[in-house]
Symmetry: C2
Subunit: 334 residues, 2 copies
Amino acid sequence: MANVVITGGAGFLGARLARDLLAAGSLDVAGDGERPLSRVTLLDRVAAPPDLAASDRVTVAEGDLAGLVAPGQAGRYALAGADVVFHLAAAVSGECETDFDLGIRANLHATEALFAACRAVGTIPLVVFSSSIAVFGGSPELPLPAVVEDRTLPNPQTSYGIQKFIGEQLLADYTRKGFLRGRSIRLMTVSVRPGRPNAAASGFMSGIIREPLAGQRAVCPVDPAAEVALASPARAIEALRCAVTSPDDVWGGRTAVTMPGLTVTVGDMVAALAQVAGPEVTSLIDWVPDPAVAGMVSGWAAHFHSDRAARLGLAPDPDFTSIIRKHLADTQPR
Amino acid sequence: MANVVITGGAGFLGARLARDLLAAGSLDVAGDGERPLSRVTLLDRVAAPPDLAASDRVTVAEGDLAGLVAPGQAGRYALAGADVVFHLAAAVSGECETDFDLGIRANLHATEALFAACRAVGTIPLVVFSSSIAVFGGSPELPLPAVVEDRTLPNPQTSYGIQKFIGEQLLADYTRKGFLRGRSIRLMTVSVRPGRPNAAASGFMSGIIREPLAGQRAVCPVDPAAEVALASPARAIEALRCAVTSPDDVWGGRTAVTMPGLTVTVGDMVAALAQVAGPEVTSLIDWVPDPAVAGMVSGWAAHFHSDRAARLGLAPDPDFTSIIRKHLADTQPR
């Protein structure tokens, strides 16, 4: 049997992952063969979506993560017997820039508390940490290389990126010590992210597609020539699942794996939107440059080549029109 | 006036640094010109050496660092008005491998508490963090390169190395946010370290010189062919001082600077000892291989090339005989 815990389980990726796991009904943990899914526990500070909360295979624990997993608390009990823990809960980049202490609490202290709790349960769970390409950045003394590779030195330029990179380091050491089996996967910016806008600086990369498709205006804060790397929700979920199912020798080590990304310009994205949905839709985009966002985006890595990801069978989305079509299919009323 | 705080100020490097600063009587902070040294405060969990404790320019606060710098505690008061903070306090590598929780407490939580306290004082002090070449390491998926350069990706293989690397990341972000002016300098293994053996896995790199020179037997746990990189105490102090005195543009950025090291084999070290002190001294070395230590040492970086260190005017020791001669001069009764 496979007992799975998802932090941030009420969020967009967490809930989608939970639904996928429940639909599959079984999970192959590190290549040891498919095991029936016995339980999915969702830890989140907000309520789980009703469809998940209603499932008799789902347990929900609501609260701030660090508190939830403290000794004697609900999350700590929920970890008992865990085979797999997906750690997706995080404060996003924009929030962490605005409120430094929130980022430290939500991304650093809560992550450390979770790893300590995973150690304490004694089952040596497989722990997948959702890191981020926000770990990469450039500074005058250490510019971002033209292509980010597996041995590129992260040089985070945001608190969020720093906190994710610290999480990778902690997880690697917990793994080396045998306290848990950690795997860090650096997710791409997800586009098109459904739902409402969040405080991530990369939010526009979904907003300029999602809002116009829903007949609403959207602001694009960067130039059409700006290059970004992104992945569809389906590819992000695939990367998270791959981090569980791969045998140890295929996964390849304790350092983080960077998932593949599709490199496009913002202009390409909008052209794809016009192609799929027509120019009347793209006319809903207001081009209002925001130097703060544009500055951040220009510092993000946009070209990736990960040998490890390729060996794991992970591939980028083929093009942005297919991403838009998947988004339409996902969000159509059923 | 320059008000200096040294964590680990009762330790070997901290006390030597304090004595050097007091003897100089002034300090140039970030190239802004020499300022008279008003105060040196030593924070340590052990008592300060008597000569320092007796100085009317020295203040001592004794206790565990995280407790000392908590709001309302002695160390927090001691930081008030600080212009420069040297953070040297740490649990050493061997201790951290034996006692994971000690390392987390002493190297991670205490470091974070110190940075938070430096932020809280509001003077935006220049904070020098003594990191370590223990951040470098190799793993099957990411072997150590033949030469470690400024853009080499650290891949720590010990808890100590992980904790030091996390400290670098935190300091970089505190600096980016303007809470303090942080500079991380990765110290080499210091040889010859005076005093008694400690629990560092690299301890033999001093012990095989120090003990025989004092007429005592010493164990060498590695093969003479083992290559190591090291620096004399004087070069380590020089690197720490350089991290304070360099103007911002010369220091070069928020990523860590790796100090230069002299690459030698253990056999070279012993040959230099024979040259300086005679074969009767080297006959006091017992070659007793310890696979655990040898394994760690073989994973350490031994060849370094740091452009930033060179631009800062830092150079390795010229040879190991000069290091031994300096050690003899330093430890001779006066």
